[in-house]
Symmetry: C2
Subunit: 325 residues, 2 copies
């Protein structure tokens, strides 16, 4: 028997809140201790329509189910009046491969688990008293990352920069519910100067943050790059920061900021970095002083998908939601 | 809007018959002419439960949809009284990435498109007057491959060998509907001696067919190997046959019989082979004489999945089947 969960039902089960932090932390911990089988991402590009579909999965040892996630981004869609993002998750039984559930979330769970990874990065790497967030980009993930930061840090002001003036102008109105002071910046340099925590949320293909803008105590979470050609921060930053943490080094070396630092030969392909899960297991591996410059490189992992799909399914079963097919 | 198609509905749309041959031939043709984006297979192993999940996909240029297929094989399932195979296909819109259909076929469409690839291999590579088929293995695909051969060749007798005596004993009864003489063989050598077309359908990890058993005019379709460790025919056979044809050389070099021939250094990794699609486009590239020994190496391709998912969806729409969600 398979349980079909539609988007509306999924949103009744899962919201962006503190409850999800330990769920996603557990996923990263399992990844760090090697209790996970996480194959490389399958990626299909449909260049003609400016589209891509990614498939991610991870089996976490000892758990009775695992997810396969299909996520599409078709970037001409907004012109057609439909969202760029789309997708679903499939939850399979670990013992039999039987499909337990189809989660037709249209990308919602990906949005949420990505934002939660941002809050985890800030929780372990940024200064605890940070009140000023800088968000580069003004799309959906920009809003969610800001909301997620508020779960772990006493943010009271956000600085925003976006190439898209229209989105930038709507940002303040769309984030009213966060009860924050929002200030639009005219340059990224200005944003960096004013912020303590910076999150990059763009599909940029050339660095937005320059090495010379780095300042003591800054934490940057780069979550926009999830493909070979994407690049948000100057490769030199990875060498000059005090701590660089990937979500999964095997992924960031191919898809993330690390990829570009290796290509630019500022980082050796043989260098080993602690991953986000290592820091969660041993927070002493994280920020050591108020002045440290810290970078977290997020490409999005299958373990996060398995974790949030399982969490959603459990709540849906308790709430008796879904259609049996 | 997404259309949910359940197994029962799918079986009303698609059966193993001649109608599917041009559908799957077209898929191979598109693959051969490079009009396809087909990323490497994503594979997740759940060793603890003797299980594996594969994800395959392919976008064929110019078509308005493409499929992502999730297929699991959990080989302890029969002990639990449930089938080993499981899975589903997701049909996405090529322009937007929107999910058009969920095909909950539980592996049925994979079984059918795999058998049809076997009939296409025999159509282009075996002698036209072949009446004697040899089937190694006695599982579901053994039966379907035999049925598929009958679509293209005047088969009147089948020789069967299987390690599993129990399955072997049931084979005749289970294939009564094919109206064939069935003869159980006590060895693979005997089966090869008596057959004109041989199909291997096992998950064997060491060669079943020895080089010294080859005989003039023989055609072998090796369809069991779809993973690094699987191997059904002696690597020497790939060197000594007259024509070796992979479904996709990039896949057989990693997952198929070619993989083992390269590892055994009997074939150079740089050697180029015509693929099944090349032979369909130009049958002169296939069998040249009655005495040729021909081999077809099938690992299963994403283009076949996209082709059969699209075909099923079109028929379902015409028959007004499915549930809108």
């Amino acid at each position: 028997m398979t349980v079909l969960l539609e988007s509306k039902e999924i949103k009744k089960c899962v919201q962006l809140n503190e409850q999800l932090i330990p769920v996603i932390e557990d996923a990263f911990k399992n990844l760090a201790v090697g209790k996970t089988i996480m194959p490389p991402i399958l990626r299909l590009d449909v260049h003609k329509y400016n589209g891509e579909t990614d498939v991610k999965t991870a089996y976490i040892e000892g758990l009775d189910s695992y997810a396969i996630k299909v996520a599409s981004g078709f970037f001409n869609n907004p012109k057609l009046g439909i969202p760029s993002s789309n997708g679903m998750m499939i939850l399979l039984d670990s013992k039999t491969g039987v499909i337990k559930s189809l989660l037709l979330d249209k990308g919602y769970l990906t949005d949420v688990r990505t934002a939660i990874a941002g809050s985890i990065a800030a929780k372990y790497l940024s200064n605890q008293d940070s009140t000023k967030a800088g968000i580069i980009g003004a799309g959906l993930q920009a809003k969610l990352q800001l909301e997620a930061l508020k779960l772990v840090r006493p943010i009271d002001k956000a600085f925003i920069w976006s190439r898209d003036r229209d989105k930038l102008n709507h940002f303040e109105e769309e984030t009213k519910y966060l009860d924050l002071k929002i200030e639009k910046c005219s340059s990224i340099e200005e944003l960096i100067t004013k912020s303590e925590i910076v999150v990059t949320t763009t599909p940029s293909k050339s660095p937005l943050i320059k090495n010379e803008w780095l300042k003591k105590g800054l934490h940057i979470t780069a979550m926009g790059s999830d493909a070979e050609e994407k690049n948000e921060i100057d490769p030199e930053i990875l060498k000059n920061c005090d701590i660089y943490i990937p979500d999964s080094q095997s992924q960031t070396a191919v898809l993330g900021e690390l990829h570009h630092a290796i290509q630019a030969k500022v980082i050796s392909p043989n260098e080993h970095f602690n991953e986000l899960g290592d820091i969660i297991l041993n927070p002493d591996l994280g920020r050591k002083s108020k002045d440290d410059i810290t970078i977290c490189d997020l490409t999005g992992t299958g373990v996060q998908d398995t974790a949030i799909a399982r969490f959603t399914f459990d709540i849906a079963m308790r709430k008796k939601l879904g259609t049996k097919i």
